[in-house]
C-alpha cells in the first residue's frame, strides 16, 4: 500500500513535468495567435487572453505588404517544385532501381554524395548560374533548381526496389513503355511514398528563405517566408509587434491546414525524414 502511494506520487510529478513541458512548447504558438488578435498596447503583458479581439494588425499587414500575392507565389513555387520532384524523382529512381545500363551504380553513388554537401556550398555557383541564365527575379529561379533532388531520388529508388519485378514485367507484356509503367502502374501502388515525399518536399520548399532572398528582389515575386522575414526583421513593421505576429500566423497557417488534411502521412514523413537529418 505504501509503495503504491509513492508510485502514484511519482507518477503525478512525472505527468506534471510533462504537462509543463508541453505548455512551454505550445505557449509561444498560442501567444502568437492571441497576440496577433489583441490590441497593440496589451502585448507587453504576455497574456494569452486579450481583452478584445481585433483584426487591426492583419489590416495593417495587408496594407503594408502584398501578403496575398506572396501566398499565391509560395503556393505556385512549392507546388511546382513538389510536382517536379515527384515526377523526376520517380523517373530517376525507377531508372536507378530497374533499368540496366553502364555506370548505373556510379551515378547512384554520385547522387548519394551530393546529399552530403551542405546547401551553402552550392549557393554561390547556383546564384551565378541564375544570373547567367537571366533568371533572377523570375519564378524559374525559385522553381527549376529545386525540381530534382537527391533525397527524393533515393527514396523512390528504395521504394521501387520493393515492388516485385513480375508486376513490371506483366506491364511490359501488356504493352506499357517505361513511362507508362512509372505513372500508371507504379504510382498508383506507391501512394504513401508519393504523399510522404510530396509533404517533405512541399514543406522544405515552403519554408525556404535564404534562396529566395538571394534571387528575388521584386516584391511581387517574393514568397511568403521571404516577404515576412524581410518585413519582420527588415524594419518595415516599424516595431509593431502585433503586425509582425500577424504575419507569422499567416505564414504558419497553410502548413497547419495541410497538416490537418494529411496528419497520418505527416507523422510518417517526419519519421522517414530522419533519414536525412
Amino acid at each position: 500500500m505504501k509503495n503504491n502511494g509513492i508510485n502514484i506520487a511519482l507518477k503525478s510529478i512525472f505527468y506534471l513535468l510533462l504537462v509543463m513541458a508541453a505548455l512551454m512548447f505550445i505557449y509561444p504558438f498560442v501567444w502568437m495567435l492571441s497576440a496577433s488578435l489583441a490590441p497593440e498596447h496589451e502585448l507587453a503583458t504576455l497574456t494569452v487572453i486579450p481583452s478584445e479581439i481585433t483584426l487591426k494588425n492583419y489590416q495593417v499587414l495587408l496594407d503594408k505588404i502584398p501578403i496575398g500575392r506572396a501566398l499565391f507565389n509560395s503556393v505556385i513555387v512549392a507546388s511546382s517544385v513538389t510536382l517536379g520532384v515527384l515526377v523526376f524523382g520517380s523517373m530517376i529512381g525507377y531508372a536507378l532501381s530497374r533499368l540496366e545500363f553502364k555506370g548505373r551504380d556510379t551515378i547512384f553513388y554520385i547522387i548519394l554524395f551530393t546529399m552530403t554537401l551542405p546547401f551553402q556550398i552550392t549557393l554561390i555557383p547556383n546564384y551565378i548560374l541564375m544570373v547567367k541564365f537571366g533568371w533572377v527575379d523570375t519564378y524559374a529561379a525559385l522553381i527549376i533548381p529545386y525540381m530534382i533532388n537527391a533525397f527524393a531520388i533515393i527514396m523512390f529508388r528504395q521504394h521501387f526496389k520493393s515492388i516485385p519485378q513480375d508486376l513490371i514485367d506483366a506491364a511490359k507484356i501488356d504493352g506499357c513503355g517505361e513511362l507508362r509503367i512509372i505513372f500508371q502502374i507504379l504510382w498508383p501502388n506507391s501512394i504513401p511514398a508519393l504523399v510522404t515525399i510530396g509533404i517533405i518536399t512541399f514543406m522544405a520548399s515552403w519554408n525556404e528563405v535564404l534562396w529566395p532572398l538571394i534571387v528575388i528582389r521584386d516584391e511581387q515575386l517574393m514568397t511568403m517566408p521571404q516577404l515576412v522575414t524581410l518585413f519582420a526583421v527588415g524594419g518595415r513593421a516599424e516595431s509593431q509587434l502585433g503586425v509582425k505576429l500577424a504575419s507569422a500566423v499567416l505564414l504558419a497557417l497553410p502548413i497547419l491546414v495541410a497538416y490537418m488534411f494529411f496528419q497520418k502521412y505527416f507523422i510518417q514523413s517526419m519519421a522517414s525524414s530522419g533519414l536525412k537529418e
Partner: protein, 363 residues
C-alpha cells in the same frame, strides 16, 4: 498461333554467368512444351528471353516466321502468366484483364466482349468488380490466366503458375490449363520444376540442367528412354534408383558385391564393350517388387535380402526404403503386401537402365 524457334540461344548475364547455353528448340504450332529442370538451370531465363523481358546474348529467336530478337515484349504477341500472379493491385479484375487490350487501342465494345468471354471460360463472372487483394490465390491465378487469354496471343508463356497453390487446387488448375490448351488450340511454353505437371500436361518435355538442354521428348518416351543418368533421375517419382558396379561376363556386379544380377540377353549384346568396366545401373521403384507370386515371368526377378529403413503407406501404394551399398533405394509396391523388417525384394532384371560411368550417358 505460331511456332517458336530457338536457334543456338545463349544468355550470359552482366556478371559473366552463363545461364542458358546454346539452346536449340522448335515448339510447333499448337504444341504444349514443358521446360523442367532443377532450380537455377535456366528455365525462367529461357522463357524470359522468349518473352522479350531479357536480352538474348547470342542466337536467333523466331516467333512464326519473324525474327524477334530485337522486338520489345508487346510486339512479340505473347502472353505470360507468372508464379506470383503479378496482377495490378490497383485495378479491378475487369480492368486487369482489359488493360492490355486498352493499350492496343481496341474499341471498348470489343474489349468488353472479350473480357466477358474469357471470364466465362475460366469462371470469373462474379468477381469482375473485385480488386486482386481480396481474392484467393487460386482466383488470382485464374485472373492472370484470363488476362493472358483475352489477348488471344500467338504464344502463351507460363512460369511456374501453380507453384503457389495448394496441392488440390494445383490438380484442378492443371486440368483446366490442359483443357484451355485444347480449346484455344494454343501454343504453350510452360516452365515448372514439378515433374508431375510436366508428365501430365506436356506434348513434349524439355529437360534442362546448368543451362543446357539434356533431352527433348514426349513424356512417355522420356520416361522409358532417358538419354542420361540426370534425365533418368529427374523424370519419374519417386526417382530412379542407381548403383555403381561392373559388368563381369553376363552378370552385373554391384560395388562391394552388394548385388549380383544375371543379365538377360538383350543387355548382354548391348554391353559387350563394357565387360570388366565400371558402369552405373538404374532401376525404377516400380520395377522392384515385394511379392512376385502371380507375375508372368517370375524367372526374371532377382531376390535381394534387406532390412527396411522406412515404410510409407500412401494408400494406393506403399514406398519401401532400404540401403543398397551406399545408396538409398526405394521400392514402390502393392499396398496390400505385409512388410516385415527383414525381408526380400525382387528386382525385375528386364527393366534395368545402364549408364556410362564417366559420361553418364545412357547405354
Amino acid at each position: 498461333m505460331a511456332e517458336v524457334k530457338l536457334e543456338k540461344i545463349s544468355k550470359v548475364y552482366e556478371d559473366g554467368f552463363k545461364a542458358v547455353d546454346n539452346v536449340n528448340l522448335i515448339v510447333e504450332d499448337k504444341e504444349f512444351v514443358v521446360l523442367v529442370g532443377p532450380s537455377g538451370c535456366g528455365k525462367s531465363t529461357t522463357l524470359r528471353m522468349i518473352a522479350g523481358l531479357e536480352d538474348i546474348s547470342a542466337g536467333k529467336l523466331y516467333i512464326g516466321d519473324t525474327l524477334v530478337n530485337d522486338f520489345p515484349p508487346q510486339q512479340r504477341d505473347i502472353a505470360m502468366v507468372f508464379q506470383n500472379y503479378a496482377l495490378y493491385p490497383h485495378m479491378t479484375v475487369h480492368q486487369n484483364m482489359a488493360f492490355g487490350l486498352k493499350l492496343r487501342k481496341m474499341p471498348k465494345d470489343e474489349i468488353n466482349a472479350r473480357v466477358m468471354k474469357a471470364a466465362r471460360i475460366i469462371g470469373l463472372d462474379d468477381l469482375m468488380k473485385k480488386k486482386p487483394g481480396t481474392l484467393s490465390g487460386g482466383q488470382r491465378q485464374r485472373v492472370a490466366l484470363g488476362r493472358a487469354i483475352v489477348r488471344n496471343p500467338k504464344v502463351f508463356l507460363f512460369d511456374e503458375p501453380l507453384s503457389n497453390l495448394d496441392a488440390k487446387l494445383r490438380v484442378s488448375m492443371r486440368l483446366e490449363i490442359a483443357k484451355l490448351h485444347k480449346d484455344l488450340e494454343a501454343t504453350i511454353i510452360y516452365v515448372t520444376h514439378d515433374q508431375t505437371e510436366a508428365m501430365t500436361m506436356a506434348d513434349r518435355i524439355v529437360v534442362m540442367k546448368d543451362g543446357l538442354i539434356q533431352q527433348i521428348d514426349s513424356p512417355i518416351s522420356m520416361y522409358n528412354n532417358p538419354v542420361n543418368k540426370f534425365v533418368a533421375g529427374f523424370i519419374g517419382s519417386p526417382q530412379m534408383n542407381f548403383l555403381d558396379g561392373k559388368i563381369e561376363g553376363s552378370d552385373f556386379i554391384g560395388e562391394n558385391n552388394v548385388l549380383k544380377i544375371p543379365l538377360p540377353s538383350e543387355y548382354q549384346n548391348q554391353l559387350v564393350d563394357y565387360n570388366g568396366k565400371n558402369i552405373i545401373m538404374g532401376i525404377r521403384p516400380k520395377d522392384i517388387k515385394h511379392v512376385i507370386e502371380g507375375e508372368s515371368d517370375i524367372g526374371s526377378f532377382v531376390a535381394f535380402n534387406t532390412s527396411f529403413k522406412g515404410v510409407e503407406p500412401m494408400g494406393n501404394e506403399t514406398f519401401l526404403y532400404f540401403s543398397m551399398g551406399d545408396n538409398e533405394w526405394v521400392a514402390r509396391v502393392n499396398p496390400d503386401s505385409v512388410v516385415v523388417e527383414n525381408d526380400t525384394v525382387y528386382l525385375n532384371s528386364h527393366k534395368l537402365h545402364f549408364f556410362d560411368h564417366e559420361t553418364e550417358i545412357s547405354l
